[in-house]
């Protein structure tokens, strides 16, 4: 028996999400299909998107910053950071629009609402699959042969996936509550990239502030991703801090979303 009670609070009802797994799968495959309807275009997009900024960053930042890299060349270092970062950025940007952009769906059918941002983030995983595979080849060519660490990449990306889901769900909910946020999200994500060691090594941050950098959920993901590719050392305590940050953001996202869920159709 289902009971609808006006005064009851709602939350993430996991059993219900399991019931709607078919919808989740179909929404995810829909997004992938639409993007990869013409295969070459989808693949090209997944590759060009990190390549263009890489070229710009490599040309400018390498000269201006003169970073001391633990492993190089700089363009490969940037590329290895951009692959997981672009997944995260695309996923968050895309997920943030899933509530405000689906008024009709939300207003005409019931389903557990968070399925929309979940599916949006999941569909973006295909990009990291494409760009990651190419990156492994390029790294090999540059003198970093594949090692057992490559098998850790799925685990690292699982953390990246969790981070994207947490931030994406929060962004989708907050854009409903604060409409002005909608055009700001992509800008904020861009700023976030500069706060993440994508273009520069973590060693450029003074030692006593480094823990703060690790509290950025994506720092751990990007650093660990490079570790898997190049075999360089990772600060595991720092990585644990990043995981903790992901968990905290996740809890915050569920709380914000839970406050909104039952009234979503009215607010969108």
């Amino acid at each position: 028996m289902t009971v609808i009670d006006g005064s009851a609070a709602s939350g993430l009802n996991l059993a219900e999400y399991w019931q709607y797994r078919t919808l989740f799968i179909f929404l995810t495959t829909r997004d992938i299909k639409l993007r990869y309807r013409q295969t070459w275009r989808g693949v090209a997009w997944a590759l060009v998107q990190p390549l263009l900024p890489m070229l710009i960053f490599a040309a400018i930042f390498a000269r201006v910053l003169r970073p001391e890299l633990p492993y190089g060349p700089y363009w490969l270092y940037v590329l290895a950071g951009l692959a997981p970062w672009n997944f995260f950025a695309n996923a968050v940007n895309y997920a943030s629009l899933t509530f405000v952009g689906n008024f009709n769906l939300l207003n005409k059918v019931y389903f557990p609402r968070a399925v929309l941002p979940f599916a949006a983030v999941s569909a973006c995983l295909i990009d990291i699959l494409v760009s990651g595979s190419v990156l492994i080849g390029v790294s090999w060519w540059q003198g970093y042969p594949p090692s057992w660490r490559l098998f850790l990449i799925p685990l690292v990306m699982l953390a990246g996936y969790a981070a994207a889901i947490a931030v994406g769900l929060a962004a989708a909910s907050l854009t409903v509550l604060y409409r002005d946020l909608k055009p700001l999200i992509s800008f904020l994500v861009q700023v976030w990239m500069y706060a993440t060691p994508v273009l520069y090594p973590l060693t450029m941050i003074p030692g006593r502030w480094r823990w703060l950098a690790w509290l950025n959920p994506m720092t751990g993901v990007v650093e660990a991703f490079r570790h898997c590719l190049f075999g360089a050392a990772v600060d595991w305590i720092g990585a644990a801090l990043s995981l903790l940050a992901i968990a905290l953001v996740g809890i915050a996202a569920v709380l914000v979303y839970g406050r909104l869920e039952a009234d979503l159709a009215e607010r969108v």
Partner: protein, 399 residues
Amino acid sequence: MKSISIQKVSKEFALSAGPGGKPARRLMALEDVSFDAEPGDVIGIIGRNGAGKSTLLKIISRILRPTRGRIELNGRVGSLLEVGTGFHPDLTGRENIFLNAAILGMHQSEILKKLDAIIDFAGFEDHLDEPVKHYSSGMYMRLAFAVAAHVEPEILLIDEVLAVGDADFQRKCIERIEQVGEQGQTVLFVSHSIHTVLRLCRRAVLLEKGRVVACGTARDVAALYLESGARDGAESRYRDRAEAPGDGVARLRAVRVRSAEGETLATLDIGSPFGVEMEFEVLTPGMVLFPSIVIHNEWGPICFSTDVDTAWHGKPRPVGHYRAVAWFPGNFLSAGKFTATASVHSFSPHMAHFNEPEAVRFQVLETAGGSRGNFTGYIDGSIRPWLHWDVEHGPLTNW
């Protein structure tokens, strides 16, 4: 065991605050709504626009949250508040079947099991692998409805889906709802069409301004509803010359739909004769004037016009007040909603002195014993005259 139990449900909307930080207005969309449904019930929910019908369905389907009150539902709830929700133009028909079915709450195994039936129902297998953006709107509707018709929850909520689509689509939809009720599922059905509610539902709930004002057999509730709105739209009166349509030659005073006895009616029985009455003033003497009544059906097209005022045809009219009634026989208009346009013209040169579209609106209702007989399907056309047929019968002969 009850399949739906609605207990004192209220819904308040906060209308967005006006400019300058004025406090938001509140709107009570539903107030203390209570009723129950047993398995197999097909309940019609009727009421005027803004009575809260759609809000109620949205609350039961959990799209909106009630402000107060409690609802108990036994069984899976499926809602068809719109046909084709979530269709994506770039996906093929087949892909959209899967996605739409999943949106409506079906599992993959269920969809695969019903896929053939859905495709069969839609009736165009050869276009299924084309993107739906290349479909005609008819094909689009058929595909969308084919999916919707195969959702089989224990509780089905349907809102006005019959208002769209062609006659064939409406008939299929009605047949499907009849089947669903017979299978022991519970159906709540919102409709503007009293005919459809009377055909499909044994019980009905009448909402007025968010409150339940009647709940009982569909026939009683429908009668109450029609009575309460009996004069709505059936009369247009113009209180003063300044606002009345017209010019220096003729001016409209009033238009009304009336019975033979002179009573103003917005709802007419299909078998009863009725008149459309026009009151107008002629202000310039000696002109030949043609009053005209044009009947439109509810989608707007003209059904026919009548402009031969037999008493004054071709005769110049003196100044004065005229009351002209065009009489329509019983069993002439089909069941449905109509509007009438009232105008007065003169010719050579042609001039319309006033032309008032939708001056009155009325509804022709069908009752047992009309030309329909026991036939329950959709009858096409705005006019359904009861004609005299001559039929001869004899033994079989050689060709």
